[in-house]
């Protein structure tokens, strides 16, 4: 069956150019980049190139990039580094809509005695900067606020947030896993101390990510071991993936314009056509500034897992904020924080595109989706309207 992939915020395909770049490092060039011999040193040089490319994609210096295994590790490293290296400060400020890699870590730290402030968002998923201001204190060890939300695609005004946080001398980390590769991210323009990036969200393989740590930021490693990453992250490098990550960042930079124009156009078409063809739908965060590739749409009176499984019949891959898909019983914490009513939170579907998405795929989704919603609404005891779109 053909696959119509519209779940790029979950993960992306490895770009063929990236694959090509990586393959020799699974085969003939298997040396350890730390070795003294030329054979390993060759791999070391390729990692150095990759570090330069990843750094360049966000305007950083190569020595400010630490390679990690995943976005979760980058986020954990950043937050723990800040609290370990600022032992006299305890408070953590974050938001209610962070990815579990930040949210669950902060909840865990809260249980261990670190006061955590979870900032609320409004109905459109926007942050109130005055509330942020009011929450900062002399006791604040770190502020960690995501750049782009993975579920709604809503962008936080990171430049303004960074200004506010840095003006008080507080460490600022941003989880930019969903932003890098989709919108321009430039650390020379935005004053962040630490920033997380993940490879598999931008057509590199799974299992490689990075943490940007601005020069001069107090740091403490999460993984203590060998001298790799200048002692900032022990463990033999995931060489092939790091090399692929470098290539992927380079390619992502070259496609940023396309994301802002063609991909954004496809998203807009998908979103507006769905609203035209299917009554009682709500775009979650539709009133906010968002990523160009993401739309989260609530279909009232039906449940998300059912929609996904019916889409799956046609090879259409999307994801949902519904409870049933995740194994938890409550709808997504992001949608609940936004105050999305239960009538549509359980039936919210996220479509997220990438540079491989085509207009034909969007048309295919638009053809298949309306009958699915009608069908499920006919089964639903809450649907009283005309089921035919």
């Amino acid at each position: 069956m053909r696959i119509v992939y519209a779940d790029s915020n979950a993960t992306t395909r490895v770009a063929p150019e990236v694959m090509e770049e990586m393959l020799p490092y699974y085969g003939e060039f298997y040396g350890n980049p730390s070795s003294m011999h030329f054979f390993g040193g060759h791999v070391g040089r390729k990692i150095k190139d990759a570090r330069e490319k990843v750094a360049a994609s966000i305007g950083a210096r190569p020595e400010e990039i630490i390679f990690t295994s995943c976005g979760t590790e980058s986020n954990n490293t950043a937050i723990r580094a800040a609290i370990v290296s600022n032992p006299d400060k305890k408070q953590i400020v974050t938001t209610r809509v962070e990815h579990p890699a930040v949210k669950n870590l902060c909840e865990d730290l809260a249980k261990r005695g670190y006061p955590v402030t979870f900032l609320p968002v409004d109905r459109q998923g926007r942050l109130d900067l005055d509330t942020l201001d009011a929450s900062l204190s002399e006791n604040t060890a770190i502020v960690s606020i995501m750049w782009a939300n993975n579920e709604s695609g809503v962008l936080f005004p990171i430049e303004q947030i960074a200004q506010k946080v840095k003006s008080k001398g507080i460490v600022f980390h941003t989880d930019a896993v969903q932003a890098v590769g989709k919108i321009p991210v430039d650390v020379t323009a935005v004053d962040v101390d630490m920033l997380s990036i993940s490879g598999h969200k931008l057509h590199a393989p799974k299992g490689v990510a990075a943490l940007y740590v601005k020069r001069g930021t107090k740091y403490s490693p999460l993984l203590i071991g060998g001298h790799q990453e200048s002692g900032r992250r022990g463990g033999t490098e995931n060489a092939a993936s790091i090399i692929g990550f470098g290539k992927a960042c380079e390619l992502a930079g070259a496609h940023l314009d396309e994301m802002a124009t063609r991909v954004c156009g496809l998203r807009d078409k998908l979103e507006s056509e769905i609203q035209c063809r299917i009554p009682d739908t709500i775009v979650n965060g539709g009133g906010a500034i968002r990523l160009p590739n993401t739309t989260s749409i609530g279909f009232q009176y039906v449940e998300g897992e059912s929609i996904l499984l019916m889409l799956d019949q046609f090879g259409i891959c999307a994801s949902s904020g519904s409870a049933c898909t995740s194994g938890s019983l409550e709808p997504s914490h992001v949608l609940r924080a936004m105050g999305v009513p239960f009538t549509s939170a359980h039936g919210s579907i996220r479509f997220s595109l990438d540079r491989y998405s085509t207009e034909e795929e969007i048309d295919f989704i638009l053809e298949k989706l309306p009958p699915i919603i009608s069908r499920l609404r006919r089964i639903s005891p809450f649907w009283k309207g005309n089921p035919e779109p």
């Binding site: 009176y301 059912s306 049933c324 809450f382």
Partner: protein, 276 residues
């Protein structure tokens, strides 16, 4: 992604008996939009109180829709008396099993059926029995107690799988644990068995319990079980027939076979399946 059986997928994609019977004799509504699943069951009886027609409307995931569809198929043609004996396990079995995290979907089916029968008999509208323990999903202490006893549940996660209780904010976990503790406290003194057993005695008692308590039940569903070995407290069994291919055989093994053996033989027994 959930591992749904072909039967679940079939009932989900081709649901039977969707709709609402206009002049229904019994109406049962459970769940709510806030909870994430809801089911409205209606049925029509003939002059002999047999269910001649049943329809459902469901808001929920694939397994909720499939459970509802299966339920309507199962109760058609049954007398009220027969229908009232249908359990959530019967619904799950009809579907070839449900993932354990989705057992609450089959429970919802049974609850709707109970409500619809109560409605027909004029018992509907009676107030909720017991006290609400889980506020997120409106589950009472009586409901939890009943399920813990029926299914021999031993942990909060299992209670959540069957009733959703405890699956939201988590504030009620202590109360659920207290119910679990009190039920297991009740269960223990009732068990009468020799305080010390030789290995031979133990194996004999296991065999007797399998023959008397367990095999007849499994055979009802075209399954069977065979004792392979006993090593200390570990009981090795092999499943046959329908049980061998059943997607929820681990549930049967833990919640039924192990619970029975613990009840009638020794409280520390662990049942393990030996593959074919």
């Amino acid at each position: 992604m959930w591992e749904y059986t072909d039967k679940v997928k079939d009932h989900f994609l081709n649901p039977r008996n969707v709709g609402e019977i206009e002049d229904a004799d019994g109406i049962g509504e459970v769940g709510s939009m806030a909870c994430g699943d809801a089911l409205k069951l209606t049925f029509k009886l003939d002059e002999n109180e047999r269910i001649v027609d049943a329809k459902f409307q469901t808001f929920g995931c694939a397994s909720a829709i499939a459970s509802s569809s299966a339920l309507t198929e199962m109760i058609k043609g049954l007398s009220l008396e027969e229908a009232s004996k249908i359990t959530n396990d019967d619904i799950a079995r009809h579907l070839g099993g449900l993932p354990k995290e989705k057992m609450h979907c089959s429970v919802m089916g049974r609850e709707a059926l109970e409500k619809a029968i109560a409605h027909y008999r004029g018992e509907a509208g009676k107030k909720v029995e017991g006290e609400i323990v889980c506020e997120c999903f409106g589950v009472t202490d009586r409901e939890i107690e009943r399920m813990v006893k029926e299914k021999h549940l031993s942990g909060i996660a299992e209670v959540t799988d069957y009733l959703k209780a405890g699956g939201g904010c988590g504030k009620c976990h202590e109360k659920i644990q207290a119910i679990l503790d009190s039920v297991s406290g009740e269960r223990r003194p009732a068990i009468k068995k020799p305080s010390r057993m030789t290995n031979i005695q133990k194996i004999k008692l296991i065999e007797e319990t399998l023959d008397r308590e367990i095999k007849p039940e499994l055979q009802k569903d075209a399954g069977d079980i065979e004792l392979v070995d006993v090593d200390g407290d570990r009981v090795f069994v092999r499943l046959h027939g329908a049980c061998a291919t059943c997607a929820v055989s681990h549930v049967t093994l833990k919640h039924y076979v192990e619970a029975k053996l613990r009840e009638f033989v020794l409280p520390d027994l662990i049942v393990e399946e030996v593959q074919q």
